[in-house]
């Protein structure tokens, strides 16, 4: 299923990712270049006032990005934003969901959400899919 098959107001199919392990946090630190120690070193996390390490916000956004890309034609994502509202602990399995909020010609606006198994919303976001722009890209 793709976003362009859905009418405004329709829900996107949910998908659950993970679980997020300590190993995935270490690998993501290296792959993404985000070396903030609170994500990989429990001593650093405790020194900063947290109980344990937690996922990078950008890991949540990377998963949400893969989710949106899976629902759109390649090269049509023109806008993507996220607000990080709660931390993602080790062991969590984030679920991405969303809704088509508007379609103006060939431009579709999506509202997105990431939540954990216990219902905690960790991120909210928006994406814009523009079919016309993709054709114009050299």
């Amino acid at each position: 299923m793709r976003v362009d098959d859905l009418a405004p107001g329709a829900d996107l199919p949910e998908r659950t990712f993970g679980p997020v392990t300590r190993t995935s946090l270490a690998l993501f630190a290296g792959a993404s270049g985000d070396h903030n120690a609170v994500h990989v070193d429990v001593d650093a996390a405790r020194a900063a006032g947290f109980d344990d390490v937690f996922a990078h916000g950008m890991l949540t956004m990377a998963l949400l990005g893969a989710y949106v890309e899976s629902l759109a034609r390649p090269g049509t994502l023109t806008g993507f934003s996220t607000r990080f509202v709660a931390r993602t602990p080790v062991g969590a399995s984030p679920t991405c969901s969303g809704r088509v909020v508007d379609r103006d010609g060939r431009r579709t606006q999506l509202e997105l959400e990431v939540r954990l198994g216990d219902g905690t919303v960790t991120a909210t976001g928006r994406a814009e899919i523009s079919e016309a722009v993709a054709g114009a890209v050299p």
């Binding site: 998908r15 659950t16 990712f17 993970g18 997020v20 995935s24 690998l27 993501f28 290296g30 792959a31 993404s32 270049g33 985000d34 903030n36 120690a37 609170v38 650093a44 020194a47 900063a48 006032g49 990078h56 916000g57 950008m58 890991l59 956004m61 990377a62 998963l63 990005g65 893969a66 989710y67 949106v68 890309e69 899976s70 034609r73 390649p74 090269g75 994502l77 023109t78 806008g79 993507f80 934003s81 996220t82 607000r83 990080f84 722009v133 890209v137 050299p138």
Partner: protein, 145 residues
């Protein structure tokens, strides 16, 4: 921590820097995200898959790290990522030489200075073609402490 205010944040000038997009790094990024189930769809007829949308954030970490925090006197352990946005105007593929140009554009506080918010905007371009823009809001815990 130095007490921040809008003029001192706006006074931080960040030089633009170039980076060649590394195929190996992009593949590693994709592999880690795919390992959690985030498999990216194969590109339609494109010979080379463009970088994942959030990879621009990693490009900027590669060119600039968190240097602006040093300039502001903010320790990395005090920051959280509040918001992140991107706009995309052209595909970026491994091998592209990308000019990364960040600038700090806003600073405000909430809860009587308990939380500070630095807003940074970055443009990514190759030659005279703009690829993407990014807008980051970084939360500083204990900004007024």
């Amino acid at each position: 921590m130095t007490r921040l205010d809008l003029p001192s944040v706006l006074a931080v000038l960040i030089p633009a820097r170039d980076i060649r997009v590394s195929r190996g790094r992009v593949e590693l990024f994709d592999r880690v995200v795919a390992g959690l189930g985030g498999v990216r769809p194969a590109s339609d007829g494109e010979s080379v898959q463009s970088v994942p949308p959030t990879y621009f954030f990693s490009l900027e970490l590669e060119t600039h790290g968190l240097d602006y925090l040093d300039e502001l006197g903010v320790p990395v352990s005090a920051i959280l990522h509040g918001e992140q946005g991107f706009t995309f105007s052209a595909p970026c593929v491994p091998g592209d030489v990308v000019t990364v140009a960040p600038r700090l554009v806003d600073y405000y506080e909430k809860r009587a200075g308990e939380l500070g918010f630095v807003v940074k905007e970055t443009t990514f371009s190759t030659g005279d073609r703009q690829l993407a823009t990014a807008r980051s809001t970084i939360v500083i815990r204990g900004a007024a402490a």
